[in-house]
C-alpha cells in the first residue's frame, strides 16, 4: 500500500459508520485491471488501491443507490458528475461523503492493448513520467502521456471540484485546453458522406448491450430507457443500423448540457466504438451557444432546461 492508499483507507475507516458503504477502487484480476471496490466493513479495505489504473467513474453507481448514505472516492472528472447529479437534484448532498483525489491522469487500457499483449500481465508500476509493464514473457516501458486516456490530455479539472476530504495537494490544470475538441475538429474535416459512412461502419458493430448507458452517471432512467421500451415506442429491438444510430442520438440529446466528459461510455464499449466524441461534439455546441460546462456550478441549471428571452448566440433564419 502506498501512503496515499493508507491515507484513503484511514479516511474511509472513520467515515464508515456514517455511511452504508464506501465506493473506492480495488484490485482487479490482474495488476492493470482495477475494479470499483464497495467497502462495507474494514476488512474490505485490504483490496483497496489508488493508482494510475483507477479509471472507473464511481459516480456511475450513485443513481442506483439514491436513497442510501454513500461514501465515494472521486478524481477530478468523476467529481464533476457528482456536482451535476446534485445540481439536478438527482442525489442528496447530505447522503454523500466525498474523498477527493487530485489526479495526474489515468491509463487507457485500449491504448496499452494496441502497444503490447496484455493478456498475462504480472506487474505494473509507475516511475516519474514512465510506466513499466511486466508480463510472463516480456517487460516494456512506455511514456506515461502515450498511455493516458484522451480525456486526461486536455484535463482542466485535475483537482476535484467537490469533496469533503482532499487526499494530497491541489493540482493546477496544466494541460492545453484547446485539445479538448481536437478530435471533433478532425472528424469535421471529413465531408458529410464520409462521416455518414464512418458512423454506419463503426456503429454496425454495436451489439446493443447498453453498457454505455448503464455506466453513464447521468443516465438515471436506465431501467425505463426509451432505447429498449415499447411505450413510448421510438425504436424496435432490431439490430439494424438505423436503430443503433438512434440509440447514440437518444443518449447524446438526453445528455446535451449535462455530460461531464468523463469518457466512461467509450471505455466500457465491448466493441470498441468511438462514441465519446459524439458527446464531445454536443458539449462543444453547448459551450459555443450557452458558454456553459456541465458539472461545475452547483447552482446552475442545465441550458436545455431553461431559456433566455433574447438568445445572444441564436440567430433567426431569414426566408
Amino acid at each position: 500500500m502506498t501512503d496515499r492508499e493508507e491515507k484513503i483507507s484511514e479516511l474511509i475507516k472513520n467515515e464508515l459508520n456514517n455511511v452504508d458503504f464506501f465506493i473506492a477502487y480495488g484490485r482487479g484480476y490482474d495488476p492493470i485491471h482495477v475494479k470499483p471496490l464497495f467497502v462495507y466493513e474494514e476488512k474490505d479495505l485490504d483490496d483497496l488501491v489508488m493508482n494510475i489504473f483507477c479509471v472507473h467513474n464511481n459516480a456511475s453507481y450513485l443513481k442506483t443507490v439514491k436513497d442510501k448514505k454513500v461514501g465515494i472516492v472521486v478524481k477530478g472528472c468523476d467529481s464533476r458528475a457528482v456536482v451535476q447529479l446534485i445540481q439536478e437534484g438527482l442525489i442528496n448532498r447530505d447522503n454523500l461523503r466525498i474523498i477527493g483525489i487530485p489526479c495526474t491522469g489515468v491509463i487507457s487500457i485500449k491504448k496499452l492493448k494496441e502497444k503490447m499483449d496484455i493478456s498475462r500481465v504480472t506487474e505494473a508500476k509507475v516511475e516519474s513520467d514512465s510506466v513499466i509493464i511486466k508480463t510472463s514473457d516480456e517487460e516494456k516501458r512506455f511514456e506515461k502521456d502515450d498511455l493516458l486516456a484522451d480525456k486526461c490530455l486536455w484535463c482542466q479539472y485535475p483537482t476535484p471540484v467537490i469533496y469533503d476530504h482532499l487526499v494530497g495537494e491541489t493540482i493546477e490544470p496544466s494541460r492545453p485546453k484547446e485539445l479538448e475538441y481536437k478530435i471533433v475538429e478532425e472528424m469535421e474535416k471529413e465531408d458529410l458522406n464520409v462521416r455518414f459512412e464512418y458512423w454506419n461502419k463503426e456503429l454496425s458493430r454495436c451489439i446493443r448491450c447498453y453498457a454505455c448507458r448503464n455506466v453513464c452517471p447521468m443516465c438515471v432512467c436506465q431501467d425505463q430507457c426509451v432505447m429498449e421500451s415499447r411505450n413510448p415506442h421510438w425504436i424496435s429491438l432490431k439490430s439494424n443500423i438505423t436503430e443503433k444510430v438512434m440509440i447514440q442520438l437518444i443518449h447524446a440529446i438526453h445528455l446535451a448540457g449535462r455530460c461531464v466528459s468523463c469518457g466512461e461510455c467509450e471505455r466500457v464499449c465491448p466493441m470498441d466504438i468511438p462514441i465519446f466524441k459524439i458527446k464531445q461534439k454536443m458539449n462543444q455546441i453547448v459551450e459555443e451557444l450557452f458558454d456553459y460546462k456541465a458539472g461545475i456550478d452547483l447552482e446552475a441549471t442545465p441550458p436545455l432546461y431553461t431559456f433566455q428571452v433574447e438568445e445572444a448566440k441564436i440567430k433567426e433564419r431569414e426566408w
Partner: protein, 352 residues
C-alpha cells in the same frame, strides 16, 4: 464412432483452404476491427485473424441477434371491410454455413444451445434448421489466457466436443482431424494432403495446451451452495460494482435467452426474435409493474445460478458455462465470475 481421419495443410496453403471453404458455402471467420475480434461473413479481401480468442463468441453465426420469425399481412375483404384475413409467410431455409476459427469453448457453447433448442418435444425449427446446415472447424487453443477457465467446467484447450473438425497448429502447418461425419464429408471434397505424419506432433501440442491451464475452482457441490445462498445478501455485496448491462450475456457463447416482439407498419409486419439478457430490468418486468428480480443482485444471482445450478440440475450436470473468460475480459466493472464462485463456495461453507 467414426474412424478419425487426419489431413495436413501447409502454412502457405492455409489461405487457399479458406477460399475453397467459402466457395460453395457461407463462411464465417473471426476478423479484427479496431481492437476487437468478431465473427463476420467471409468475403474476398477479408483477412481472418486467428491469433487471439474472438472478443464476441460465434453464437451470432447460427443464433443471430435479430431474426425474423415470420412476416404477416392483414388482407381486407373489399366487399365487407370488417372481414379480414392474415397471411403469414416465414422463411426457415438457411444456407449451408461453415464457421472457421472457433475455439473449443465456443463450440461447446452450442451443446448448451442444443439441449434447449433441439429438445425432441418442442424443437426450435429456426435454430434446428441452421444447426443442421452448419459445421464448426475449431482450432486447438495453444495459448489460453489467464482469464480462461475451461478446465474448471469440464472442457479443455484441445476439447473437440461440439466441433466437426479440429485443427491443431503444428510447426510448419496445420494438422486437421475430422470429428463428425459432416466434418469428414466436407474435408473429402477438399482433397488435402494426408496428415498422419503430423498426428504425434499434434498430440504433443494438444497435451501441452491442456497442461497450460489449471482449474481455479471445483464445481462439485456448487449447485447446492448456490441454492443455499439464495436468500442471503451475499449477492448484493459481491456484485455491488456490477453495472447490470448486457456485455457479459451478449458475449457469452452459452447465453441463449431471447425476446420476441412484433413490428407492424400500416397493415403488414413481422415477428422478430432478438437477444435478451437476464441482466436487464425489462427481462422479468411483469405487466402489473412488479419485477421479481428488481435489482442487479438478484439478476446476477440468476445468471450464476442458471449456469452453475438450475441448468446442470435440469440437464444431468451439464454446466452452462464453457469457461471462455469473455465476461471477465470485457466487463466494464471487472466483475470476475471465478471470484464470485470462489467467494460463493466460501460463504456457503461458513453458513453451513
Amino acid at each position: 464412432m467414426v474412424m478419425s481421419m487426419s489431413w495436413f495443410i501447409p502454412e502457405n496453403e492455409f489461405d487457399i483452404f479458406v477460399k475453397n471453404l467459402s466457395k460453395k458455402r457461407r463462411l464465417f471467420v473471426p476478423v479484427k476491427e479496431n481492437s476487437i475480434v468478431r465473427f463476420v461473413e467471409f468475403k474476398d479481401g477479408i483477412k481472418p485473424y486467428f491469433e487471439k480468442q474472438a472478443t464476441s463468441s460465434a453464437k451470432n453465426t447460427i443464433f443471430p441477434q435479430t431474426e425474423t420469425l415470420f412476416r404477416f399481412e392483414y388482407k381486407k375483404d373489399p366487399k365487407d371491410l370488417k372481414k379480414f384475413s392474415v397471411e403469414i409467410s416465414e422463411t426457415i431455409e438457411a444456407p449451408e454455413t461453415v464457421v472457421l476459427g472457433t475455439r473449443p469453448c465456443d463450440a461447446r457453447g452450442f451443446l448448451v444451445f442444443d439441449k434447449v433448442f433441439l429438445n425432441p418435444k418442442h424443437p426450435d425449427i429456426y435454430y434446428q434448421n441452421r444447426r443442421e446446415k452448419s459445421l464448426f472447424i475449431t482450432m486447438t487453443c495453444t495459448d489460453p489466457e489467464p482469464t480462461c477457465f475451461c478446465k474448471a467446467v469440464g472442457s479443455s484447450p484441445a476439447d473437440s466436443l461440439g466441433s466437426d473438425i479440429l485443427i491443431t497448429k503444428v510447426k510448419d502447418g496445420f494438422f486437421v482431424e475430422t470429428i463428425t461425419e459432416k466434418g469428414e464429408k466436407l474435408l473429402n471434397e477438399l482433397n488435402l494432403k494426408d496428415g498422419d505424419a503430423y498426428s504425434k506432433e499434434a498430440e504433443k501440442v494438444k497435451d501441452e495446451a491442456n497442461e497450460k491451464l489449471e482449474s481455479p475452482f471445483d464445481t462439485k457441490g456448487l449447485s447446492a451452495d448456490i441454492l443455499k445462498l439464495f436468500n442471503t445478501n451475499f449477492w448484493e455485496k459481491e456484485l455491488a460494482h456490477c453495472l447490470s448491462c448486457g456485455v457479459c450475456t451478449y458475449l457469452c457463447p452459452t447465453c441463449y435467452c431471447f425476446n420476441i416482439t412484433d413490428e407492424t407498419s400500416d397493415s403488414e409486419g413481422e415477428r422478430i426474435r432478438t437477444w435478451d439478457a437476464c441482466m436487464f430490468f425489462h427481462f422479468t418486468l411483469e405487466g402489473s409493474g412488479h419485477n421479481p428480480r428488481p435489482t442487479k443482485a438478484e439478476r446476477f444471482r440468476n445468471r450464476v445460478g442458471h449456469k452453475f445450478s438450475y441448468f446442470p440440475d435440469r440437464y444431468d450436470g451439464m454446466i452452462a458455462c464453457c469457461g471462455c473468460g469473455r465476461c471477465i475480459k470485457s466487463c466494464p466493472a471487472s466483475v470476475d465470475i471465478r471470484k464470485v464462485i470462489i467467494d460463493l463456495k466460501e460463504a456457503a461453507n461458513e453458513s453451513a
